[in-house]
Point group: C2
Chain length 314, copies 2
């Protein structure tokens, strides 16, 4: 038996058929942006998937379809007010999909899907309590307690990118409309903003001053840091400090066995992990010092989102 | 059938036999401080309980013993390094109790027991997701997710009194050894400290200046606030603002249906609840505004701790 994983992004939708070991054995994509009408999009997914389903032996071989999408609600199958997707308002995506495919369809947000993927196929295999943090354009999270994902009363639990870590008047404005959210510092965008601030203040030489300041990206910061650039390294130290402080609070909440990092920014590896670990340890309550694992996702990066989504139907 | 609830405090241990409706039908106490040796204490509990057990029909009528105690670990039955109890180190309390009583014994910390009490007998009956916050000498918490208490990987989850809400150099020192914990502001002690700071700065008249500043307690603040004293009211507004900010972060974690308040400080009622609600609403992400219930425990105050502990064996 196989499962289908679909990862809906604002630009591209990744689709895959996953075997019982987690291997993605068939893959395709659909351009999300090409389908401003949701029923057209569902039809496009069907057209893309049907030949793959046939190749693995037909629908009888498929246990179900798991979908990871921004603002997706596990409880009711709806995608609700997702700012980066073409469909506005509340979209009954789960229902549309199950009507069209005549298969079990489960949906959740992308960070929750990532957490499930780690639990079923990845580094969190067998863990009953852990927290997944996705560091990308934004900061997402999926929380596992007693072996179950935490969806909360309304299906939207686990918005750890939006805990407030700066309450000063200088706190950065977040995309959610509030100020000082973790995401404004610990996302790729946040890292770029930090680097720009640091370059403006820098007195010594920095590789990052060789480009227009407002065009510095987190990728530039990474590349400069790898070359030992002090401003770039300091940017990661600052970001890691903030993440470590936030992680210490997360531990006080659910006392996880591990915190697992995933996403573009996590590629910075120890440049980011070392300062996170140091800051987290400094801020943990004594009972937890030295006891919380800090791990990177070990899933293949290209397939992780598909594997995570597919995990909903395992 | 009945359950036994035991609430171990640093000074007094409350003991009760609870019927299936949650009513405490027999009660007694033991002076915790009188028994510096743990086996003597267990023996004292047995001596105190045996006549009550006999009165309700003997041991065959008892489903089990639930115990609420500081630093109590649900997973292994140990009380570990509790600073306010007479027994040092790791005490295998659950095992000692079940050996002596020949009954099922379950233990957890007092705030978790309070949360269970609300879920089984109180205002959180039927709720699958809520957070209990106890506002007393310290700030404790019990978190319920998917109808289960969150114990975490090690049994110590739910230390929400120790999330950091002040990272400035002026942050108050906490009993846990760290700085800026929620507990340093939102406990009875924290409220007293806030009031003393405000009295020192006050320019107008305040009832609170009629006593030595360093002797002001949270009770004094409450009494002054009831009489409309502006400094006392401002103390509650400040405390409520901080609690509301913290609650908004807690909601981002587990999206609870409600946050339930209990404990001495919660007696301040709307003097505290109104500023908490205002601050929480201001700080919540848009998806949660107006949707999170803020409730007071409705359990009878004298029996709540016994009922909570007894809930472990329901």
């Amino acid at each position: 038996m196989y499962t289908i994983g679909i990862d809906i992004g604002g630009t591209t939708t990744k689709i895959g058929i996953v075997d019982h070991t987690g291997k993605v054995i068939r893959k395709t994509t659909v351009v999300t942006l090409d389908y401003p009408i949701i029923t057209d999009y569902v039809e496009a997914l069907h057209t893309a998937l049907q030949p793959l389903i046939d190749e693995v032996g037909g629908k009888s071989q498929i246990k179900g379809i798991g979908v990871g999408a921004p603002n997706a609600n596990f409880y009711n199958g709806n995608i609700e007010h997702a700012p980066n997707l073409p469909w506005k308002g509340i979209v009954p995506f789960g229902k549309l999909m199950s009507d069209r495919f005549k298969l079990t369809v489960r949906i959740t947000n992308d960070a929750n899907a990532a957490a499930l993927g780690e639990m079923v196929y990845g580094i969190a295999k067998g863990m009953q309590n852990f927290i997944m943090i996705t560091l990308g354009t934004g900061v997402g999270s999926g929380i596992v307690v007693n072996g179950q994902l935490v969806y909360g009363h309304d299906g939207f639990a686990g918005e750890l990118g939006h805990v407030t870590i700066d309450r000063t008047p200088e706190a950065r404005l977040c995309g959610c409309g509030r100020h000082g959210c973790l995401e404004t510092y610990a996302s790729a965008t946040g890292v770029a903003i930090t680097a720009r601030e640091m370059v403006r203040k820098a007195t010594g030489y920095t590789l990052l001053s060789q480009m227009p300041i407002d065009e510095i990206t987190s990728k530039n910061v990474y590349e400069a840091a790898v070359q030992g650039d002090e401003v770039a390294l300091e940017t990661f130290r600052f970001t890691g400090k903030i993440l470590g402080e936030a992680f210490a609070d997360f531990v006080a909440f659910s006392a996880p066995e591990a915190i697992v990092l995933f996403g573009g920014l996590a590629r910075a590896g120890n440049l980011l992990m070392n300062p996170i670990r140091q800051s987290m340890e400094e801020n943990l309550m004594p009972i937890w010092k030295g006891k919380i694992k800090l791990l990177f996702s070990q899933l293949p990066e290209d397939d992780a989102a598909i594997m995570g989504a597919a995990s909903l139907c395992v």
